[in-house]
């Protein structure tokens, strides 16, 4: 996704601005700003539930970049990520009836679905071993991709992403790594312990502390997500 589209997809409504921690230089908001009159995510989900293909088209335009990034982070293969993205949006179409606004936001539901499918795909495919090797290389070269892949482009990040990354990057690298392996690779605590040659209890503590810090760090705008 081009930078302009990224910015366009993450602009915020002025009335949704949320005051964050005092140390933060400016207010940050997280709800994607929509053009005047544009349907909300919930409107689109309800449209999909009613069989409106145009609603799916709009939801795809709004979130394909985020979901593709998530899938790519899990499986590390461009072509497979595109295939999975298509399958996931088809599943969104087919499973929309199972979405309930009372249980969360449409984006959360889609991310949960996409993550599950991507991790399933990772585990099933023969490419798993190759991805593991790549992950190993990445882990050796970049103990934490969340922290170390900052580029000039980061300066132009959306408020939302830069804030979330700031919260994540405030964690000690071992906590980031444990969360990264659990969330993006679907690893159990035991698998993380084996992979990082760390006692199981330590892995559990790292996950608990890291997730709590992120959860607390996002508290001020979590409800906006």
């Amino acid at each position: 996704m081009g930078q302009s589209k990224l910015i366009a997809s993450t602009r915020r409504k002025p009335e949704k601005r949320v005051r964050l921690a005092k140390s933060r230089p400016r207010a940050v908001t997280v709800v994607p700003q929509l053009e005047p009159g544009a349907p909300s995510d919930l409107d689109l989900m309800q449209g999909i539930q009613a069989g409106d293909a145009d609603a799916l088209s709009q939801l795809y335009d709004r979130y394909n970049g985020i979901l593709k990034a998530l899938i790519l982070r899990v499986i590390h293969n461009e072509a497979e990520a595109d295939d999975l993205l298509q399958e996931i949006f088809m599943e969104i179409w087919n499973q929309a009836k199972n979405f309930s606004a009372q249980k969360g936001k449409p984006l959360g539901w889609m991310v949960t679905l996409a993550r599950r499918r991507a991790i399933d795909g990772l585990r099933k495919k023969q490419a798993y071993a190759r991805a593991e090797e790549r992950l190993q290389n990445e882990t050796e070269q970049q103990p934490d991709a969340w922290v170390n892949n900052a580029t000039e482009e980061e300066i132009l990040l959306s408020d939302t992403r830069s804030l979330i990354r700031k919260v994540i990057s405030s964690l000690p690298p071992p906590q980031q790594q444990a969360i990264d392996l659990a969330f993006f690779k679907g690893m159990s605590q035991r698998e993380i312990a084996a992979k990082t040659n760390t006692p199981l209890g330590t892995v559990k503590t790292r996950l608990e502390l890291g997730l709590k810090k992120i959860y607390d760090g996002l508290k001020e705008f979590r409800d906006e997500l």
Binding site: L56, S57, T160, A182
Partner: protein
């Protein structure tokens, strides 16, 4: 399990990081805490959105949407 411990477990639960032996205890606590527990779990799912939003959006192949909408159209017509 007190509620603070349940909160720690809930954050692990939503990312699928609870070990099998922890799941049963968590489910028992989930029943014990009822709506309060369910509400907290729902909030924890915001972590999923946060992790996804922490990534730089990736560009999908231009043909994906075309294929998707063709499949949807075919399914509607079937």
């Amino acid at each position: 399990m007190n509620f603070s411990e349940f909160q720690n477990q809930a954050r692990l639960y939503v990312i699928g990081a609870l070990e099998p032996e922890e799941l049963e205890e968590f489910e028992n606590a989930r029943t014990k805490f009822g709506k309060k527990g369910e509400d907290f779990i729902t909030k924890c799912y915001a972590l999923h959105e946060a992790f996804a939003l922490s990534l730089r959006p990736a560009k999908a192949s231009a043909t994906i949407k075309e294929k998707l909408m063709s499949m949807v159209k075919a399914k509607k017509e079937a």
